[in-house]
Amino acid sequence: MIPILINTQPPVLWANIIGSTAPEGILHAAMRHVARNLGSMVRRPIQLNNLRLETVPINRLGAPVNDLEAETVAIYLLIGDELSGEAVLMLSPADAMYLADWLLEARPGDTTCLGDLERSALAEFGNITLSSFLNALADLTGTPLRLSPPTVIVDMAGAIMEAVALAAVTPNDELVVIKTDFTNTDSSIGIQFWVLPDFDMSTVQPIC
């Protein structure tokens, strides 16, 4: 039975959500919804793997990344309204091109670079994926959620980690990260999905 949380204050709500990593919890339900949507987009079964919650010090944020210089594709957006935070999908350029082939109905291997068309397809993919997660979360919690437009970054992994840290770092220099990986059945594609709840987004002051 999935608990339904309605009209709870945002910090408590995030706390409840991130505390629900058990298989029967809200997070699993939302992530399973994402996996189903991903599968229907690429017309292949997609598995949800190793959903976990981590608290990461900012100076250790890059530690799980083998090569901070490695080219990485990230689809990034901000979560707003009642619950704020950020979400990012990360994948290797090879996986991004493989995914672009699926999304653009091209033959495997046709995509050899990430031009405007491919980036646009990936942004839409990110938008749908992250929307499906947040819509599921909104339904389960009764809380309206809003997304910024997605942006696709293709650059070194270290710089993507910095962008993530910038938006979500807490006064304790830690980031709370909900992580999972999606793979298709033959593991030919792997996507890392991070959600970073922010308990007080207003702590970053606007640039004058």
């Binding site: 100076n59 890059g62 957006l77 650059d155 710089a159 980690m161 910095e162 840290a165 220099d173 007080d200």
Partner: protein, 165 residues
């Protein structure tokens, strides 16, 4: 000969008087790298700062090296303890790129420009001469500081490593 690489994580700094050491930040984006070097003492250090200063974050505490305005004086202090003289220090600034651009995101994420600006101001206030920079733009950089001679090398994706100073 293999390089004796010492990575500098986000919100930290590193300093050394060992001429065999190379300080490095991999994939520097909107953060700023402040590389300081005393050519006579052959002492150098690197700061990897995330935000311009405490005032940019309402709950602005934590690692001092996370902030440019606190990290630079701290780095100078550390280098002096290793034998550097402040008046001999030279500075190279790298990073401060705008990695994320999208409607509605710019205000928050154009922090790189502010990081670089504050770094210039803090160095000026400390009387440290800025000799070179690789600042701004939209691309990440890997930055290396060679303690043997103070050389700073920068690499971006798809391009050869180049000497900044």
């Amino acid at each position: 000969m293999p390089e004796n690489l010492h990575p500098v994580p986000i919100g930290e700094m590193n300093a050394s008087a060992d001429p065999g050491d190379v300080l490095v930040i991999y994939g520097l984006g909107s953060c700023v790298a402040v590389c300081l070097y005393d050519p006579l003492a052959r002492v150098g250090g690197m700061l990897h700062a995330l935000l311009p200063g405490q005032t940019w974050h309402k709950n602005g505490h934590g690692l001092p090296a996370k902030f440019v305005d606190q990290g630079v004086p701290l780095l100078i202090e550390t280098l002096v303890a290793l034998g550097a003289k402040p008046f001999r220090l030279t500075a190279t600034l790298c990073g401060g790129a705008q990695m994320v651009t999208a409607p509605g995101l710019n205000d928050k994420l154009n922090i790189g420009e502010r990081n670089a600006l504050v770094a210039r101001l803090v160095l000026q206030a400390a009387g440290v001469k800025r000799v070179a920079q690789a600042i701004g733009g939209y691309k990440a950089r890997t930055v290396k500081l060679y303690l043997v001679n103070g050389q700073v090398m920068v690499k971006t994706l798809g391009q050869e490593e180049r000497v900044v100073v």
